[in-house]
């Protein structure tokens, strides 16, 4: 279920963010077009290819961008009428490097805490705690300019957390991190959402990040909602997945599958994953293969992944 129907079905009382028929325009281009969704409490992933409108939606939620049409409510408050109250209760981790120049990490985070409304002494105490939590305890007296990319990602998370928000907006939180740092950041995000009880909206174009941290997903494509719902539910949405390896013209085979309404995409291991809608079987694969003159060398039923959900919703664009 997508669009306004989903928003209405979940209801405002059960959602952290309610988006109703929202459109945002940059000059002649519609960055968001008639988007409706209800994001439930917990960890929600905002997924989509580059340019899908993820960052635009986050900026609209923060009140940085005027809506052309529609209504945005966050934590029960209208973004247009109570932007300051919303920002007091929200923590935002921007996608790009962002810090206050000339400050040490602890001074920067404490400063952000004060700006968010904490008394000075409390802000400083929270800054120390949060910096330890994100793994920057030993480096907290260093100037932020001297930090590595991974450390800068963590300091952005710390400044978003310092005032203990009810909702965290994380825009590409693992951007530029090495694999170890990425794993630690994902572990942190999972901990925040599942152990500490904060609500999260994680925007990313990396499927594994969303898969490992979130319970729900909102998939955007070209400024529109492609699909949304619980990740577990979407994965098992009445369809099966087959891993197929063929000998012959794989491009022609894939195109033929698309023609008969079967979505498929390549993996890194030279295996195609074919999404089989409910009521259809693997026999069709063999029929198409025979028509195209390719040989099926490997066929195995598989468990649907978030990538399959994504491909099904967005296509292989």
């Amino acid at each position: 279920m997508t669009g306004p129907a989903f928003a209405t079905a979940l209801g405002e009382a059960g959602s952290v963010v309610t988006i109703t028929n929202v459109s945002v325009r940059y000059g002649p281009r519609l960055a968001l077009e008639d988007v409706s969704a209800a994001l439930p409490p917990g960890a929600v992933g905002l997924l989509g290819p580059n340019g899908a409108g993820k960052s635009t939606l986050i900026k609209a939620l923060l009140g940085f961008i005027a809506l052309e049409r529609g209504e945005l409510r966050m934590l029960g408050l209208d973004v247009r009428h109570a932007p300051l109250e919303i920002r007091r209760r929200v923590g935002y981790m921007p996608e790009t490097d962002a810090h206050i120049p000339g400050m040490t990490a602890v001074a920067f985070v404490a400063y952000c805490g004060e700006l968010a409304g904490l008394p000075r002494a409390d802000a400083m105490q929270r800054a120390h705690e949060v910096l330890y939590y994100v793994g920057l305890g030993e480096a907290r007296y260093r100037k932020v300019e001297t930090y590595s990319t991974g450390m800068k990602q963590r300091i952005k998370l710390a400044q978003a957390l310092v005032h203990d928000p009810d909702l965290l907006l994380l825009d590409e939180p693992t951007n530029g991190m090495d694999p170890k740092g990425r794993d630690e950041m994902v572990a942190l995000i999972r901990d925040i959402a599942h152990e500490r009880g904060l609500n999260l909206i994680v925007s990313s174009h990396l499927l594994p990040d969303i898969d490992e941290t979130c319970d729900h997903v909102l998939v955007l494509s070209r400024g529109r909602v492609a699909t949304q719902g619980p990740i577990a539910g979407l994965k098992g949405h009445g369809q099966r997945v087959f891993e197929v390896r063929v000998k012959g013209d794989t491009g022609r085979f894939a195109a033929a599958l698309q023609q008969v309404g079967l979505d498929c995409h390549d993996t890194d291991e030279d295996v195609m994953r074919v999404l089989m809608p409910e009521g259809r079987g693997s026999r069709e694969l063999f029929e198409v293969a025979a028509q195209q003159g390719v040989q099926v060398r490997h066929l195995r039923a598989s468990v649907p992944t978030l990538e399959d959900v994504f491909v099904d919703a967005v296509g292989t664009q």
Binding site: L84, T96, D97, I100, P101, G102, H163, R196
Partner: protein, 279 residues
Amino acid sequence: MPIHDQGYRRYTGRRIPPGRGWWVIARAGVIERVRERRFLALMLLAWSPFIVRSLQIYASTSIAQLAFLAPGPDTFREFLDQQSPFLFFITIYAGSGLIASDRRANALQVYLSKPLTRVQYVLGKLLALAAFLLAASWLPAMALLALQVIFAGSPDFIRDNPSLVPAITLFCAVEVLATSLAMLALSSLSTSRRFVAVIYAGAVIFAAAVYQVLRGITGTTAWAWVSPENVFDALAIAIFRAPANPPLSATAAITVVVLIAATSIFILDRRVRALDAVT
């Protein structure tokens, strides 16, 4: 050990309602500058005319033969005029990076994701600069006035010149506000504080040079409004009701100041946004 084992506690303490972010920004801006020795040296240098004037006042009230040095109302206008070069350097030092550095580090989206309006952000930055400009103009002028009363042993001077305190305050407020707004607007146009410093210094010096050239060619002061120095001179003469010949009329000076302020506010409104990050 996984890093999140360090723990995260929910905050249950007091929260201050939105609206005082400007004060946090202004205080942080002042503290950051005060920690720099070079800037403190500049501020001390800016108080050197005060020391000379203090000696002048002391001598005029203590030594009868030097009574001719006694200050009049115009002394304070001249003193504020003398402070102009110091204000120029303080503006460049303390003001050029106020918004430019934030833009370079993408800090605007951090600021504006907090419960803070753009007006509060600009106000905080404005006060961080204005505090130092007032500390180098209004504060020493008022301190001189206080010294005059103390050394003379009576408040007669203030009683005889009741408009002096409002005049000093009004002139300093207008000069500091216009200067701070102009510098903030310039600072918001770039991500390099050095570039902003060069542009500001160049604009002030170039404007004065252009005026001198035009005066030489035309033989009149009709173009005096192009130089901020002339504008503030004319304003000071009008506010202090000094018996001097202003380079341009008070109305023209006020118009230029209003135009500078309005243009600066327009630029700030366009440039101080969190939208740079939107891709």
